[in-house]
Every structure is written in structure tokens, then in C-alpha cells.
Amino acid sequence: MPTTMSTTAKTLESLANREYKWGFVSDIEADTLQPGLDEDVIRLISAKKQEPEFMLEWRLRAYRHWVNMERTAGAPKWANVKHPPIDYQQIVYYSAPKRASEGPASLDQVDPRLLETFEKLGIPLAEQKRLAGVAVDAVFDSVSVATTFKEKLAELGIIFCSFSEAVQSHPDLVQKYLGSVVPYTDNFYATLNSAVFSDGSFCYIPKGVRCPMELSTYFRINTAGSGQFERTLIVAEEGSYVSYLEGCTAPRRDENQLHAAVVELIAQEGAQIKYSTVQNWYAGDAEGRGGIFNFVTKRGKCAGRGARISWTQVETGSAITWKYPSVILQGDDSVGEFYSVALTANRQQADTGTKMIHIGTNTRSTIISKGISAGRGNNTYRGLVKILPRAHHARNYTQCDSLLLGDRCGAHTFPYIEVGNASSVAEHEASTSKISDEQLFYCKQRGLSGDNAVSMIINGFCKEVFKNLPMEFAVEATKLLGVSLEGSIG
């Protein structure tokens, strides 16, 4: 027994102490506001982005609402996470790399050190090196620095650009959909984001168009003391299809940094949106110093009949993750899916899950959640399945599995199920397991090292989620979990 335990412990340690190779800082001159938040800061952000009047007003409404929220209830306290109170006056709300000229930059105007930074992160932006089949919007601190394949996508009528650019070039679309899924009053962090958000991505897929490549946004926090507040809006018109990927990293710092993003998805009749995230923000060190507070609101609306939205997330980074990618199933026969792997090692905390709100008839939802806790990590699944009275014949299947590595970590499950009619079916399955000594011995008896055995078992545990990721991301995700991808057979 002692030998197995020590090997497990060693393996877990190496998993927990995974070197964070994205922890470097880029030395780039930035246009950075002083820390602090008031109406002037919001006016300044809006002015810097040369926004139309409606945007500034929306921001100000959000800000006033947020001030009120902060004065009364404050930040939500129901989540199963612990952190010292955040001083919102100490955060830098806008930081952008300086560039020679204002306005949307073409790639040759972008600071080469920025391109270098993204190349180091494995996201080459230069024309000749671009990732085949993936269009990238690269966001550095508060702004988007480059978007690849824009022109090629435009030929199909697809709009893929930074949020700032969309506000300029497609104000009608932004005004129509902004806040239509996550209103600025939604929750403390979403409200804050609505007031101060600086950039993000915008996608619009016209009727009947199948987006021929993966669209992706890569978020990078660089400046110390800055928060990142980005906003992503994806609109898929009737019968269209898009697969969207999101990745994120940040430098290794001893202070916590706040990342409060909002993502809104709208899928019209028969449209399909697949949204995949590999979240790898800096997680803090073994003692829990530093790391990103990842407080994110993600929600999609299946607005039309037969629409389909799938969220797949692999959450391995951040000191604290607080996010519930959700689907409002408004259209009849619409489908919502949530596939999640959340890993908490060291002193990481995650309170994550989903909400499936069934409004239309014959709506279906699937929730597969895999939580892995190691070290002193604390992992919570929190989910709501709500079937409204008129959502006849709605169906939900939920499966929540927790894997505990070691004996100092925690796994918690808080499923809420509200069924408002008799013709609907909601199923919930849950399990908690450990890697057993017998499993490890069995693998070792076949020649596998302890590390490989643990990797293989974890990989098997996550399989149902990984198979929903696009190939490149699946590889990335397995690497992040310190595991090797299973053979191509089987």
C-alpha cells in the first residue's frame, strides 16, 4: 500500500505542479488607465473606442446598476468558493498596447513584439504561418490586436471581427443583440462587464451559411493589475452553422487578477453553434498565491425551432472559476448541450456547471460534467434544469462524475431540477470515484509507469467530454491535463 500511495502522490504532485509555460510577461508599451472606476472611466473607455452614443448610454446604465448592486447585496455569495474581497478601485479597467496609428490595424501595423507573443503562445498570426482552417481573433489585455482570415470569411457574408470594430461597422447588429441573452442587470460580474468591457469578438453567420473554418478567439492578459473584461457575441441566422473556440493564458504573478467576461450566443431556427473553451489562465502557485479570478457569464439562446447550442469546456487554469454556460431553449425542438471537464489542483477552486431552461416543447438537453480534484483543490458542480409548464415532452439527461486524487481535495455537487409538467423527463446520474490501487497495479503489471497509468485513467474519465472537442483542441486539452491522447484506434 505505501508504495502505491507514494507513486500516486508523486504523480499527482507532478500533475499539480505542471509547469505553467505561458507565465511570461511581454514588454510592450501600453496605454494604461490609472486604477479605479467611476463614470469618467467609463466615458473614457467609450471615447477611446469612439463608440456611438447608444453604447455609452448602455454602459452608463449598467454602471449605475452595478454601483447600486455593490452598495446593497455586493458580489454573489452563494458560490462554494473563498477569496478575499476584491477592491474594485484597485483594478485597471483599460490597458492597450500602443500602436503608431489609431483605428483598425492591418497586420503590418501590429507591433512585432505582439506577434511574437502570440507566436510563443502557439497562435501565429502572420499570413504565411497561420493555423490552417482556424480564423483567430487575438485579444491582448483590453483590445483585439489582429483577426485572421477576415476577408475570406467576408466572401461568404460571415462577419468575424473584434467587438470594437463591430460597434463601428455593424452598430445595428450590435444594438439589436447586445444584452439580448445576458441583460446588463443579469448578475454582479456581468453588470460590471457591461459597464467596462473593452473588447472581444463578434461573429455573424448569415442565413444558411455553414462556416467553413473554426473561428477562435485567443485571450491574453499581460499588464499587471489589469482586469480583463471582454464580450463575445455570436449570432447564427436560420440554418447556419459555426464552431467557435476560445483559449486563454496569463503571466505568472503573485497578485490575483480579475477576468469577468460575458458571452452571448443567439441561434435562430435550425442554426447550430458549437462553442468550445480550453481555459488555462494562470492558476496561482502551490500555496494559492496569485492566479486569475475567472468570473464569467456565458449563455446561449436557441431562439428558433430546432436550434442547437453546445458548450464544451475544459477548465484547467484560474485560481477560481465561477461560470455556468447555459442554454435557453426557447424554440420548439431545440437542443442544448453542456460538456465539461474541470480540474482543480493545488489550491484551485471551481464552482461551475450549467443552466438548461426549457421553454419550448420537445426541447432536449444533455449535461455531462467531469470534475477532477487533486492537491487541495475544491471542485463544485452546480446546475439547474428548469422545465417550464408549457415545455411539454422536454427531456434532460444529466451525468455528474467526480474523480478525487488524494485525500485533501473536495468534490461537491449541487443539482437543481425543476420540472413544471408531467410529460417531461429529467434524469440525473452522479458518481464519485478515486483511482484505486488495484487499477494502478493492473496498469503497472502491464508495464505502464505510474504517471502513464494515472494519465490513462484520467483520460478515460474525461473521454465523453473530449470527444466533443475539435481535434486540435482535444490534443491541447489532453496535454493540459498532463495526459497523452489515447491511440487513434478504438
Partner: protein
């Protein structure tokens, strides 16, 4: 090939094996028989390196090496294979990837390059026939949802693919119906070669009708109390284990 000298071992402070001695030469099949609780499975687990068992005395030489000093995975890579009495389930990991990983660990140790998917499938396809299984078996998660017979056949499939020098079959026959037993036995027989050796741990003589042993040993109360040729198995089948108990009681000095 394998030389066990005065091996004593136990689990959780309880002594189970008491000075076991056994010589196994290349090309031989040894059957280790005995009543329940005599230490048969402990012997198998100790040889394979299960960390729950503590060796309290004696030594085991395997191909000139100190077997007991090697961690379990090193023993496996050196050609020691244990067919488990209770094969373990691994959810979400396909039989194919598990086997592929094991084969490549072994090949890495032998200085061979990894097999690619096609080469691996070629190898496995041929071995699947030995245990009368089809390819669909490979895409199922390791032992998950397998019937008892399928689990045992899977162990023999792994043995066939990994081609161990020294295999221990721990009650591979238990819980098998006669057809499955024949399939398993036939698989094992095809794997018998002049340069490998097998220890068959079993409670019953039944499997020995199909896998003919060179030597039969009776393990009783942690000791090997009788060794002979294959005829001993028949005698045990006829007379049960009680006469062994009486014989042992008569020859043992009291208080030993």
C-alpha cells in the same frame, strides 16, 4: 528462469507465505494447487509486485535479476505477466489503447520503435483468433461490462499480445464454463514455448486436463508441502485436500 528461495510474505501484518521454495525452468509449466486460503494468490501477487504485500524473508531470482527489488512495472517490462483472478475495470479507456500502451512500453524497453496503428492492429488481429474474439472487443472499455468469461479471455489476449517470458495465471479457470475454459486453455497452450514458463495457480484439477503441467505443487498454510508430476493433480481431485492436511499434521513438529 525463476528461483524462489525461502520466500515469506504477508499482508497487513499477517504472515501468509512461509519459506516457499520453487524452481521454474524455461519451457516448464508448474501448477500450484491448494485449498482456499493456502496462499496461492498471495504467491502470484508477490511475484508480480503488488505493493499491498510485504516480503518478510527469502529471495527470488528471475533471469539472473533480483526480482523482489524491481518495481511492478519493471517486472512487467522484463517479461513477467500476471493474468489476474479479478481483472480490473478502467472506464473510458478502450481495450485497444490500453493494450497499445502496454505493447509500446515493452517495445521501448527492448529498444524497438513504437508500433503504428496499422501494425498494432495487425498484431492484435492475429492474437484475437487465439482466444476466439472479434475486433469489436478492442473498442470496448477495459473489462467494463465484460462477463466473467470475457474478462478471463481478455487476460489471455493480453498475454498473447505481450508474449511474456514468465506468466502466472491466477485462477484463470475459476468461474469459466467448459467452453470458455477450453478456449482459454487452448490459447495458453499455443503460447507455450521452450523459452518461456508458466505458473498456473488453481484450485481445481479441471484446467490441467487441457493444460498439461510438468510439475504440480501443493501449497498448504503458506508452505509447499508436496511436489510431484501431473499425476498428483489427479490424486488431489480424487481425494480432496483433507489427506494433505492430515499428512502435514503428522509430519510437522508441534508449535512450528
Amino acid at each position: 528462469m525463476l528461483s524462489i528461495r525461502d520466500l515469506s510474505a504477508g499482508v497487513e501484518g499477517k504472515t501468509i507465505l512461509r519459506r516457499v521454495n520453487l524452481e521454474v525452468r524455461a519451457g516448464e509449466v508448474h501448477a500450484v494447487m491448494g485449498p482456499n486460503g493456502s496462499g496461492k494468490s498471495t504467491l502470484a501477487q508477490v511475484l508480480a509486485g503488488h505493493p499491498a504485500y510485504t516480503v518478510t524473508g527469502g529471495q527470488v531470482r528471475y533471469l539472473g535479476q533480483d526480482l523482489l527489488a524491481m518495481p511492478a512495472e519493471e517486472r512487467a517490462r522484463a517479461g513477467v505477466f500476471l493474468a489476474f483472478q479479478y481483472p480490473v475495470e478502467i472506464a473510458g479507456v478502450s481495450n485497444a489503447s490500453f493494450l497499445n500502451a502496454a505493447v509500446n512500453e515493452l517495445r521501448a524497453r527492448q529498444g524497438h520503435p513504437e508500433l503504428d496503428a496499422m501494425e498494432f492492429l495487425g498484431l492484435v488481429d492475429e492474437r484475437l483468433k487465439l482466444v476466439e474474439m472479434d475486433r469489436s472487443f478492442l473498442s470496448r472499455p477495459v473489462n467494463e461490462g465484460f462477463s466473467g468469461g470475457e474478462k478471463k479471455r481478455n487476460e489471455i489476449l493480453q498475454m498473447a499480445v505481450l508474449e511474456p517470458k514468465f506468466a502466472i495465471l491466477d485462477e484463470t479457470d475459476s468461474g469459466l464454463d467448459i467452453d470458455a475454459l477450453k478456449v482459454v486453455a487452448q490459447g495458453v497452450n499455443r503460447l507455450r514455448r521452450p523459452d518461456n514458463a508458466i505458473i498456473l495457480v488453481t484450485h481445481y484439477q479441471r484446467i490441467l486436463q487441457y493444460i498439461e503441467p510438468d510439475h504440480v505443487h501443493v501449497l498448504f498454510d503458506g508452505r509447499i508441502v508436496k511436489s510431484a508430476g501431473k499425476e498428483l493433480a489427479l490424486e488431489l481431485e480424487r481425494k480432496g485436500y483433507d489427506w494433505i492436511r492430515e499428512e502435514v499434521a503428522a509430519t510437522q513438529p508441534t508449535g512450528a
